[in-house]
């Protein structure tokens, strides 16, 4: 399966980035293309993209015991975004990995752009948090 990997150094304290990653209500603040998020009755999260504002993307948000990752998976496409924080003297480093199923490999370039934009925005929002 194709994979994308990217990282960014964030000058904010790690707890600020952690909250943005772990609070689905904050996804629209930093995730490129996400317009709004709702909690579903079954415990999953529903993402609504700006491009298709009425179409629900059911999403699973999971934490992984393997190295403190948070994994956010689209239940329609099975595309999984994994986020991990590492300590850095200036703040923290955010590492992201996107695992793309073969059926969705044609979207790799668009997903790469989305990932870069989201990482930059995540760092920017975290650095601006009071």
């Amino acid at each position: 399966m194709p994979e994308l990997n990217a990282s960014i150094l964030c000058l904010a304290q790690a707890d600020k980035v952690w909250k943005l990653l772990h609070d689905p209500r904050r996804f629209p603040d930093w995730w490129a293309g996400v317009a709004r998020v709702e909690a579903s009755a079954d415990g999953h999260v529903a993402r609504y993209m700006a491009e298709w504002p009425d179409f629900e993307y059911p999403t699973r948000v999971e934490t992984s015991a393997d190295g403190g990752r948070i994994v956010i998976s689209c239940l329609i496409s099975d595309i999984a975004h994994e986020w991990r924080l590492e300590p850095a003297p200036e703040g923290c480093r955010v590492r992201a990995r996107v695992v793309i199923p073969d059926d969705e490999s044609h979207r790799a370039a668009a997903l790469s752009d989305e990932l870069d934009a989201s990482l930059s925005r995540l760092a920017e929002v975290a650095e601006r948090e009071p």
Binding site: V17, D23, G68
Partner: protein
Amino acid sequence: MGDFDRALEMAKRALTSGRGGISLEAMILATAAYAASRLGDHALALRYGREQVSLLERMGDPDRTALGSFDLGSLSFAAGDWNGSVCHLDRALSGAHDRLPRALARLRLAEALIRSGDVTRAGEELGRFPFETVTAADQPTTLVCQLERVQGLVAAGQGDHVAALRHFDEAAEGWRQLSAMTTGEDPYRDAFIDLGRPPVAGLVELRVELGRVLADAAATLAELGRAGAAREYADEAVALGDATRFDGYRGILTSLEAVRCPN
């Protein structure tokens, strides 16, 4: 289900039956400690908690002993023994124990440090929190709200009451939203599966946590001289404490009485 009296009674009966071996006995002690703590009988809860740790040490299983120390730290925390809580939670977090809810333990340690007056070290523990492993036993959907509240306590400890109130309000809003959601999640079941035993005082109850953060916010508002707002928060906190039969923040509730009935 919330029937802690019945849970304690059944656990006591199981303990006196003496059947099932040392491993099962440790689990029953964990259940009994949780129920006793939740009912406000902290002396009994701590006795069961210590017995559990002693049994786990005899079993020679470092992972389960670390869990026992986490339980004991949580029981001490519920009893208001902040220094004891710091000591046990430090011990639990000292090794790389996979089954320990490390993120939850780190947050609880930070709060115990604040309550014991060591705001500087509490801030350091919060700095370690984002790099901890998070598992189902940490009840991950609740961690953002818990982090907000502890950040609020650190801010209040540093004298930044405005930041403290912002964190408390964020936390309260989060607890309200979580309470309003009807999800398939069951924190008790998830923690039980993940830990392989009852979650003891580590279990997070949404309405109890909402009451806790409202009590903290009321105390901060009272310090700022905003008596009307403090009273509103305090009244809701007290009502939640009554509804959940939770007396775990006795000290805060005592201070809330002053807010509710000013001289």
